[in-house]
Symmetry: C2
Subunit: 322 residues, 2 copies
């Protein structure tokens, strides 16, 4: 197994060498190139390569599908940014800001089909399993995104709703990435399914940790201003868990969110979360899903070196940016 | 072979029996059901059934892929309506008007993946060919849509640009529909490719005829008010062909389009088209592509009855709504 940094470099090089039609179609393909060049951790495609490498000692066959998974991920970000009316992503204007909304919609659609084409570049006897995994995952991602949008106006949400949402929006893609890699590497259906479980659980832990960092993290290492979720009234793990504590707590929380966006609201809500022990509850949940991920990983037929590599990746994703 | 009306009824029944998750996900799936229930001629899925029936004497295996093709078609209409800011489709509010723009974007994305899943419901040994045909077609449709959008602001367009645009946006989907049906029916690659050609050429003839009808048709049978394209400044076959006549003509045409939208503009432009012989030129082009379609059809290994059925369908699509 290579280091995560090396897999990541392979992905960057692979993306850079993608070829698109030019001519009078640059209006369709320039926004795609722009979206794919934004960088980022490339965790999802790295997991495809790692899956293939771990089970088949050959990551080259997984390169195009890995780029397909990254293309899918970026397609969802592109359309999410249109729906959320976000202006900035990774320090650059979002696609619909740099080009326009129609370009973002149509080039996004194109990315979804390109992603499907790239993911389908596998041996014929693996096509059905890989394609089904990919399409099932895509549906889960849309369902998760829809729940997330509905939560903005929902009267009550419980932790089970919240977990369903992040399992769809975040977990399923990480799970499908590593499962597709495993299938390409020749994993048994049983092992592939366990790796999916490892991925989903890692995704849940990652998302809950991300919610925690947004309130309790350090802005210099987190990369975003702290308190953004509180200011935007986002239904995070902290919020939903606090809401479940008691009717009294729920009322206090709702009152705190009546404070106009700004430092005052962030401070008030953060203190309330602390008082309720939500920081610890959140951390506990991260630990819970992390250990579920490791349990699934350890139950596979992989050797010690491979297990260690996936363990490291999960740690990097979840635990190392306090 | 059945009658076109019977295949169409089969498709309606198939769409009606599609099942979607309910519960708290109705916000995702209701817009999809709404979009799919709009009716219409269902020509594209009918062509899938006919392809399978003609080559394999069995349309049942093609039912789910046929619905997938119709789902894809409706996905493109849904996103096109968002991009064009259209309020009405087939006499009902468009999806983004009935729900909202975010619902139209996200439920549209979901329809694209659902379409891919349905189209992939073929025997394993046909999956690669069917999937490749579907994905290649989808890319052509997006490219055609992009060209169409770019034409709105383009200084000059020639007939070759115009034909490239409608071949992508309209021709490729009709071609892919019948080709996918043919593959499912067990057609050779050669026959499948000829049927694709038949479909693309039928699509071109249909689109050019549609342009003609929008200016020279009868509003009662056309189903839309006459002159809509002229009022919207659309770059139709008539417009682009007239533009190519001479610099003088182009100047006269541009001047006529300076007239504010309304009866006066429609009359002036229509008279100019007539004077330039554009109605005949347009009709000639329809005949040209229709006979190309028939030539491709006749070169297949199909029997007389099957050829007759596809000939009838092309006639119905192109010629019967003056």
């Amino acid at each position: 197994m290579k280091s995560i940094a090396d897999y990541s470099t392979d992905i960057e090089n692979g993306i850079r060498s993608l070829e698109f039609p030019g001519g009078n179609l640059s209006t369709l393909y320039e926004p795609i190139k722009y979206a794919l060049s934004a960088g980022g951790k490339r965790i999802r495609p790295v997991l495809v390569l790692m899956g293939a490498d771990a089970f088949g000692k050959d990551m080259t066959k997984a390169m195009r599908p890995a780029i397909g998974i990254e293309t899918f991920h970026n397609f969802t970000l592109l359309h999410d940014d249109v729906m959320d009316k976000s202006s900035v992503r990774r320090g650059r204007p979002t696609v619909h800001k740099k080009y326009d909304e129609n370009a973002a919609i149509l080039s996004g659609d194109t990315m979804l089909t390109l992603a499907t084409q790239l993911v389908a570049e596998v041996e014929d006897d693996k096509l059905r399993r890989v394609l089904d995994t990919f399409n099932d995952m895509a549906i889960k991602v849309y369902e998760g995104q829809r729940l997330d949008m509905d939560f903005e106006t929902a009267e009550t949400i419980n932790l089970s709703n919240y977990l369903e949402m992040i399992a769809g929006k975040t977990g399923s893609l990480i799970g499908a990435a590593v499962k597709i890699g495993a299938i390409i590497g020749g994993a048994s259906e049983e092992d592939a399914q366990k790796m999916y479980e490892y991925g989903v659980m890692t995704g849940l832990a990652f998302q809950i940790q991300d919610d925690w960092l947004d309130t309790f993290g350090d802005s210099t290492t987190f990369g975003k201003p702290i308190g953004g979720d509180i200011n935007n009234g986002k239904k995070t793990y902290l919020y939903v868990a606090a809401l479940e504590e008691s009717n009294q707590t729920a009322a206090a929380l709702r009152a705190a969110y009546e404070i106009p966006s700004g430092e005052m609201r962030v401070k008030t809500v953060t203190r309330l979360f602390e008082k309720l022990g939500m920081s610890e509850k959140c951390k506990k949940a991260v630990g819970h899903y992390s250990s579920k991920a490791l349990k699934a990983l350890n139950s596979t037929s992989l050797g010690a070196e491979e297990k260690e590599a996936f363990k490291k990746l999960a740690e990097k994703l979840i635990g190392r940016k306090k």
